[in-house]
Symmetry: C2
Subunit: 123 residues, 2 copies
């Protein structure tokens, strides 16, 4: 309660915000659903295991077992993450006999990784 009072009052005193009436701010806001979808996608990349999986698949198609071996992780954990990434249409499957090959479903991932790696290196 004391917070909303504070906010009301600030509308009159905040420097720099006179130029922004509420209407203008609304216009520049991202809509809720898009924000959630964006966040869901980013969160999918927000785990070291999934980063490693995607990075490996950036270079070549791999089967579950090979990913599991490469990461030194249990097959179950890897399979869970693969399903997770597939549900978000980041990965796709290709079945050959009993083996399932995973690969990227989209070529945006490469650019996203490149940009983010640049952000890391810089500064």
């Amino acid at each position: 309660m004391s917070q909303s009072d504070m906010q009301e009052a600030c509308d009159d005193t905040c420097q720099g915000s006179e130029a922004l009436d509420a209407a203008r701010l609304e216009d520049k806001m991202i809509d809720d659903q898009t924000a959630v979808e964006l966040a869901d996608l980013f969160r999918a990349l927000g785990d070291p295991t999934r980063v490693k999986i995607i990075y490996a698949l950036l270079q070549q198609e791999l089967c579950v077992h090979d990913i599991s071996t490469a990461l030194g992780m249990g097959q179950s954990a890897v399979s869970h993450q693969l399903r997770y990434l597939r549900n978000l249409r980041i990965l796709k499957r290709r079945k050959v006999g009993k083996t399932v090959f995973y690969s990227l479903d989209d070529d945006h991932m490469e650019q996203i990784f490149v940009q983010t790696l640049q952000h890391l290196k810089h500064e």
Copy 2:
């Protein structure tokens, strides 16, 4: 244990993976630290509130109160997220009197958002 047995055995039978000896896979893997740092960055973008904050700041510098108002959230919650994003050098501060203006510390975010929004729209 039964899992590693399964993995050993698969090395001989997995189709398509004959071309990948362990050494080659190692070479194409991302190193652990980089994976963690990448994941940390992505996780920072993996929340609707933070997405909204960054999206708003993509267009203009804003003070804490204005962000708080725009998102319809408590000042404390916003302040916490701002600190979080600042620690990862995604945002920077500029102080004017009692007001603190936040803005992006880097111009990579725009590209990252553009690419990821494209991934969303497509398919």
